[in-house]
Subunit: 464 residues, 2 copies
């Protein structure tokens, strides 16, 4: 038979056990924290009618929507984010609680240029509040994201906040027509990625990117750009200082909502080390109307922003006359996973592997595994064809098991089993005292125990 090459579609990838396991941990933690903040879960389908998605992401992003025909020959598309589907459902269902605080985790698809570390399907974990213009809602989503990142243990991070109202004032201050504002924001959003000289080119005459493609410029004047540069040179970080500078340059009304938010963040005990105001933050999507946020890992800036969001007061109006101002924050789970790595290399998937020494007595081994599982022990039973112990222990090591249970025909007759600690050979700690203590424990368990005492003994060892 001719073989089909086993491969992923360009731009897609698989998560093998170590990463998939870690991702589950991250998702579970975020879910727990978001529920603690009063967000309720929803699920929407991967597919939406194309018209639902068009027109809110900006031209460049819209090109990245995976689109095709449904069996009914209608234009459909894979969802590009979880925000537009949320706007759809709050318009579609009248009986949702209002304001509606929802979380959703799921894949989104973007036909981006594939890049190392950049994939066309990735998982977003969003928390949004729909139906309030109060900056309490901003405080809620920021608080929830900070809580989730702390509970995951991502190390030092900062939430960097700006506002589209500030940016609109900058556009006016710079003498740029309001109709160009969104184009300007999309260019400013690239600042951290491409640097000021390239931003300046994209604001004016355009530039060639690394692959030689020409990116047309916005045609702004030197005077326009000079004013934008004045603004971008403002200090960032300490919130009250930034508020003062913004009020000075652009007028106090430009940053009224940031001022309210600042007060609520004070109440939450979130100082400028954790949540800073940063005039260079713009975000790339067209639908934002107020505060915008992104999160960077302080010690791993190369991973870019691991979460982003903002206020979008007009998005729901595409679908309904009801006024439903909204704000949300989305964690990029895969980017976070990439930054955190696969976690503890030796995370035990299974706690115990039961080896099979006498194939004719397979039922005996199945019974042992079954007993351990009923006691809540994560137990694998070796199911392969290898008869030797060495290969089976290699398998146990491969699935990161802590203990192997070994029983030959003689032991079955004698009514005993052997428990082997598979980490006995490892350098678990460099601290001599800890290591001594641990070696004492591990020596203790290199022993035969009566078959009847196996489960109790394993439970005892796991609790050590």
């Amino acid at each position: 038979m001719e073989k089909i090459e086993p491969q992923n579609v360009k731009g897609f990838r698989d998560l093998l056990p170590q990463y998939a396991y870690r991702k589950n941990e991250i998702v579970s933690t975020i879910r727990k924290v978001y529920e603690r903040y009063g967000f309720l879960p929803v699920e929407t389908p991967g597919l939406e009618y194309l018209e639902i998605l068009l027109g809110e992401y900006g031209e460049e992003n819209t090109k990245q929507i995976f689109r095709f025909k449904s069996p009914e020959e209608q234009d459909v598309a894979l969802r590009f984010d979880l925000t537009v589907p949320l706007a759809r459902i709050v318009a579609q269902y009248n009986d949702l609680p209002k304001p509606f605080k929802r979380y959703q985790v799921g894949s989104v698809w973007r036909a981006d240029k594939p890049d190392p570390g950049r994939f066309r399907e990735f998982t977003q974990f969003d928390a949004d509040v729909v139906g309030t213009s109060s900056q309490l809602a901003e405080a809620e989503v920021i608080g929830a994201v900070v809580g989730a990142l702390e509970e995951i243990g991502v190390g030092k991070f900062s939430v960097n906040v700006n506002s589209r109202k500030v940016l609109n004032a900058v556009v006016e201050y710079s003498g740029i027509p309001a109709g160009r504002a969104k184009d300007v924001f999309r260019v400013l959003d690239k600042l951290n990625k491409i640097g000021m000289p390239n931003v300046e080119l994209e604001l004016t005459k355009g530039r060639r990117d690394v692959s030689g493609d020409f990116i047309p410029g916005l045609g702004l004047t030197d005077i326009n750009v000079g004013k934008i540069k004045d603004y971008l040179a403002l200090p960032k970080g300490e919130r009250k200082r930034v508020l003062g500078e913004l009020a000075g340059l652009l007028g106090p009304e430009s940053c009224e909502d940031l001022k309210k938010l600042d007060g609520f963040l004070d109440v939450l005990g979130l100082d400028s080390e954790v949540v800073s105001f940063d005039p260079t933050i713009a975000r790339g999507l067209d639908y934002y109307t107020g505060p915008v946020f992104e999160v960077n890992l302080t010690d791993k800036p190369q991973f870019g922003s691991v979460a982003g969001g903002g206020r979008y007061d007009n998005l729901v109006q595409r679908f309904t006359d009801a006024s439903l101002p909204a704000v949300g924050f989305s964690i990029g789970v895969d980017r976070l996973l990439a930054a955190l790595g696969e976690g503890n290399d030796k995370a035990a998937f299974s706690e115990v592997v039961v080896t099979i020494m006498d194939r004719d007595k397979a039922g005996e081994y199945l019974k042992i595994a079954s007993e351990l599982r009923q006691a809540g022990v994560r137990t694998d039973l070796y199911l392969g064809q290898e008869k030797g112990l060495r290969k089976q222990l290699q398998y146990a090591d491969r699935v990161n098991a802590r203990f192997a249970v070994i029983v030959g025909s003689n032991e079955i007759e004698k009514g005993v089993v052997t428990i082997k600690d598979l980490r006995a050979g490892e350098n678990v700690s460099k601290d001599a005292a800890q290591r001594e203590e641990w070696l004492k424990k591990s020596r203790e368990i290199q022993k035969e125990v009566p078959r009847k005492e196996l489960t109790a003994e394993i439970l005892r060892l796991l609790a050590l």
Copy 2:
């Protein structure tokens, strides 16, 4: 602005909080049980190259694959199940443990005729063992599914098992060429859905379905069909009896693997009440080669099979020369969810809603919510525009909160808060003594407590 109608693509649907919450519970439970059985998680993308998917599902199913072009103009498709992607990854990655026991949960897409209760995107939760021909593997996946369904609490259910080897013997016994076997199995798979008279028509001259479409028949003779009917008339249920009957009609070699499996099921303490042998089970997918299984809910047969699977020893060979016999079992999470309903109507999403009586002191309310959350209490803060208490309590009821915290300006000055039990008006029990006890408790909590004692008091009340 012209409004876009907020609606789902035909055949798709949303899960609102009550159902999404319940689905999360089901998925978490299955995950926990599968990990206890030693299955490791993987994630594969929603998209696969079309050629990866073609040729293994059978003609009718293949028509249901959502297919389109990638940005590189390659033929791609949404995954139809999680089994073929698994076959791909075990061929693609050499460093996986062998045998590979993996679980995966995710959406699959089928452009089926949309029907009430039948959707084009649904969630499968699969457990498979790749790389062993031992029936221990069948016992492992059946044990894991039984464990998961018991832990979810689905009520009475039965796993019904047959074997493609038995069915191949039936085809031979009936005088049908082996090349027609898969066509016959696809028709037999419909037996429970369409009944014997329609199956008979599809095996012979064809029939019109309810919508008037003609389903061509296989053109078998009356003699062929008579023999199949002899076989289908065999008793089902008690495993050892079925094994005897099968051996009698088709020869003992036809059910050797079922016999081995029976022994392992005995070891696991799974009797014929839980796992029965059923000659009418066929399964619809082409790739099965050995035992096949499906699960029905005894008291809710109208939901059809809520899980299905079987052995597929040749599927991986599409991608590699290595011999990797495999077996798997897939739980249809959405069908299970539909059968179980949204669960407890009053499941508390949030335990507490903090109402806002004095909007100028919003920070105070945020502080209260923040304190409760830090103590681990699932706490919502009312973020809407309503100023009156009544509307805010309606909101709290809408999100199923147990308690409302109410603080007016006076109370803030006095340093007190009011806790209200939102279920005080409900008929929690029909048992008079229980109800009296409960009313005593609920009276106790209609009270003002010092602001400083709020968190401790809420924790105390939740623990009652």
